[in-house]
């Protein structure tokens, strides 16, 4: 109280202004990231026309060769086997019923990098190196289901919309004033994008685990895949590209083990 009494009227006024600003901006930022952004990005992503999803997949497939991806070395029989496995896993309906996903599995070879990723409209790419890394069909199913999980929850487009919303919002708030604003916009976009990317990975893990439990009675294959990827990523830092925007593998295994009972419902 004595400190407050010692302040001049002007100091009291500016103290109130600064404290209020900090309180409001902190809560507003928190609500923007955890409430407004997920809700609005989901709504916007759902409202985009189907042609945009198709165009994203087409351009994604075209750019595969730009990322030093080569034609697969798998035999026609192997490709047919995994494609059959994949088709059996494709869900009848997306989480968002109004979106019609066209699922397809593509095989590529990529500089000995075990990798798999999903595009917006249901195209899933798996590298020969990933298939070589896995022991059996259950583990391949786990990887495919993880990627199907991304498509099912529409993560690719939602992530693009989220980053766009953050960039536009910060540009509006900060204006085109300086290099500092550019750095803030880029930093926040990357940071928030990475946060949502990690959340998406966890959600895709959960989706895969639940589907594996439904298929085989347990999610052990998903845990085994993550442990295998951890071994590979520990052996060679170059292999971490698939994992860079993902939560730590140990955390993902722990999460799956801790929540296994929830996936059986």
């Amino acid at each position: 109280m004595s400190l407050l009494q010692n302040l001049t009227d002007q100091q009291k006024q500016w103290s109130a202004i600064i404290i209020s600003t900090v309180l409001v901006l902190t809560l507003a930022t928190y609500k923007f990231i955890y409430t407004v952004l997920p809700y609005s990005s989901e709504a916007i992503a759902q409202s985009l026309p189907q042609s945009i999803y198709e165009a994203l997949d087409e351009s994604g497939i075209e750019s595969l060769s730009d990322h030093q991806m080569l034609d697969t070395q798998l035999t026609a029989e192997q490709q047919a086997h995994y494609s059959q496995l994949f088709q059996a896993l494709v869900p009848e309906q997306s989480e968002h019923a109004e979106l019609t996903k066209t699922y397809q599995l593509l095989f590529r070879s990529w500089e000995e990098k075990p990798n798999a990723f999903a595009l917006a409209n249901g195209t899933i790419v798996i590298t020969d190196e990933m298939i070589s890394l896995l022991n059996d069909d259950k583990q391949v199913q786990a990887v495919l289901l993880h990627e199907i999980g991304h498509v099912h929850h529409n993560h690719v487009v939602e992530s693009m919309v989220k980053v766009s919303i953050v960039s536009v919002t910060l540009s509006i708030l900060l204006g085109d004033i300086s290099a500092v604003a550019d750095i803030l916009v880029s930093g926040a976009s990357i940071g928030i994008g990475a946060k949502f990317s990690r959340d998406a990975e966890t959600q895709a893990d959960e989706y895969a685990a639940a589907r594996l439990v439904a298929l085989h009675g347990d999610n052990q294959a998903m845990v085994e895949v993550l442990q295998k990827l951890k071994t590979v990523s520990d052996e060679n830092a170059n292999y971490t590209s698939w994992l860079s925007s993902h939560p730590a593998l140990d955390e993902r295994v722990t999460h799956l083990n801790n929540h296994v009972h929830e996936f059986s419902h």
Partner: protein, 125 residues
């Protein structure tokens, strides 16, 4: 009170100030420099995050605190209808942005009058 009336009021106050002895005049201007407010700062604080910071600037702590509490509650319960509170506060406060010149002019005239009262009542020399 419109701008013309406020300008006339200020002119009257300035004439009173001009009649003060030099020492009182010096005291007056010292106090005025400390207490008068800038309409542009008021407008910026009104616009900035639109939560009523401009009330604090004019020393209206009660009104400012009510706004801040409403905004914090609105944000905390955003998904439960809190956004309605935010819009209401916004609609209530934003018009003051367009009247900031007049509001601060009136405030400054009040400040000038109160300093003159202080000089007359306390006999500051």
């Amino acid at each position: 009170m419109d701008m013309q009336a406020l300008q006339a009021e200020e002119e009257q106050l300035r004439q009173e100030i001009a009649k003060l002895p030099d020492e009182q005049k010096q005291y007056y201007y010292q106090q005025e420099k400390l207490k008068v407010k800038d309409p542009d700062t008021y407008a910026v604080l009104n616009w900035f995050v639109v939560v009523g910071l401009h009330h604090f600037y004019l020393g209206k702590f009660g009104r400012g605190a009510i706004n801040i509490v409403l905004i914090l509650l609105g944000l905390a319960f955003l998904e439960l209808g809190g956004w309605i509170v935010l819009i209401l506060v916004f609609l209530l406060e934003l018009p003051q942005l367009f009247f900031s010149q007049r509001i601060v002019y009136r405030y400054n005239n009040q400040v000038m009058a109160s300093i003159l009262d202080e000089i007359h009542n306390k006999g500051i020399s």
